[in-house]
């Protein structure tokens, strides 16, 4: 424990120095509107802690809904494409091409489809954002199994189902989690940007948008900090799930 603290000491020092420089150097230079002091942001958070954490939770649920459906869809489609290679070869170039599109640009469109107040509009954009990295990573995991592993299963006269259950899916797990971790970040981005284009006043993105319009920058920054906190916890939770389910592989750290 002591050693872990010692290991993280340099990072903590940099964090503290960063805050000090922000408070007494950068913020005075930039002006308190453009870059509020950390102390002002902290005060704004404290005065609005209930509102902000409720808003954060609201938007996190939007992100989570999209994450669950988008990731599940990505994994299922990857399994189908890995099982029927010909279909995969036909579809994959498009999946990769779509993955390169800045999908976030569709946020106003999903709002139009489902209505800005309907959480499904945020699920849709967060879900589409998660779908492709999970699909691409899962498919890579499922298909990058060593040929001898498959030959071994053939020597046991294993069915395709058994090959997936015993070899392909377990060996794809680390890849799937890589996709899921990217997905957590993208889902939060999707939900917040979705809020920007219209949503419930209870949503964090809407709170950020409104406070900035009213030049309440400390509140806006505090809301961004809350969004980051939810995003980090989301990421760490998936990381913890990874450590629980991916066993027997030396941990590489993040």
């Amino acid at each position: 424990m002591t050693r872990r603290v010692t290991n993280q000491l340099p990072a903590l020092v940099v964090f503290a120095l960063g805050l000090v420089a922000w408070e007494w150097v950068f913020s005075p230079l930039a002006g308190k509107f453009l870059l509020p002091k950390p102390s002002a942001i902290a005060t704004a958070f404290w005065h609005n802690r209930q509102l902000l954490s409720d808003a954060g939770w609201f938007t996190f649920k939007e992100a989570l809904g999209g994450f669950v459906f988008g990731s599940a869809g990505g994994i299922v489609v990857a399994i189908v494409l890995a099982r029927w290679r010909k279909v995969g070869e036909a579809v994959m170039p498009y999946a990769i091409a779509v993955n390169a599109i800045p999908i976030i640009a569709f946020a106003p469109i999903t709002n139009a489809w489902f209505g800005p107040l309907n959480p499904h509009s945020k699920w849709a954009i967060a879900g589409i954002l998660c779908f492709f990295p999970v699909l691409v990573n899962t498919l890579r995991g499922l298909t990058s199994v060593r040929p001898e592993s498959i030959e071994l299963m053939s020597s046991y006269a294993a069915s395709q189902f058994e090959v997936f259950r015993r070899v392909r899916i377990p060996s794809a797990l680390p890849f799937i989690f890589t996709g899921l971790k990217v997905g957590t970040v993208l889902a939060m981005i999707g939900a917040i940007v979705g809020d920007y284009f219209g949503g419930s006043t209870r949503a964090l993105g809407v709170q950020i948008e409104n406070s900035i319009s009213l030049f309440d920058f400390p509140f806006g920054w505090a809301a961004i900090v809350v969004a980051s906190a939810f995003g980090i916890v989301f990421y760490l939770a998936v990381g913890a799930a990874e450590r629980l389910s991916v066993r027997g592989v030396p941990s590489t750290g993040d």
Partner: protein, 267 residues
Amino acid sequence: MSVVELKNVTKTFARGNTIALQGIDLAIEAGEFVSLIGPSGCGKSTLLRTIGDLIQPTSGTIVVNGKPAQQARRDRDYGIVFQDPVLYDWRTVAKNIALPLEMLGWDRTRRAKRVQEMTELVELTGFEGHHPYQLSGGMQQRVSIARALSFSPALLLMDEPFGALDEMTRERLNTELLQIWQETGSTIVFVTHSIAEAVFLSTRVVVMSARPGRIAELIEVDLKQPRTQETREDPRYFELVTAVREALARGGADKITEEALVAGDET
């Protein structure tokens, strides 16, 4: 009865129009330890895989345990060991060894008992709960051998199992493998590119030549059993090593042409 019987087996790969195997006739009797040796590209690994029905021949017949190779594979009549141990990282040593037993539907107690016997056989008692990455290369390959033998197949196919190990580990595992062979009475078909290993282990060495892959010569190894470190100093051992080396030279081991290298190694 022959455990393995190949008649006029030919394998051509469409890609590059390569003739990997041509007119292979070979019968392997129960209890034999047969090594396949030859230059890169002679098709020795391909030949092993046709016996295991992992690759189907273009023509010819393969009979394993008195039935077509495909039926033998479906009946799980053989165990196989590759150069790479092919252990599943997410399974412990015990669970890797038990993999074929799970697929055969053995219950938990029966599996545990067999795993214990197998870890004793390959001298890995105490490592049952370890994961593969915690073991040395030699230990990993012992797990792989235990897994292949766990369901007591009559036939063991081995594709350069010790090729990636250092010389000392390889010699120790050679001796262990011979002990296992004598204890289990199984038939072993063993692919290697080491002349010394082939002579030390085998009752018969099949010398192959490349392009197309053919059987050049069969050499009976009449060294006495059981083989020990002293076997490696026996004058007869050196005579046989020389005989295999000369057979390889006659079979065209030195004729590995540029074409062969371009066409790629056997798969």
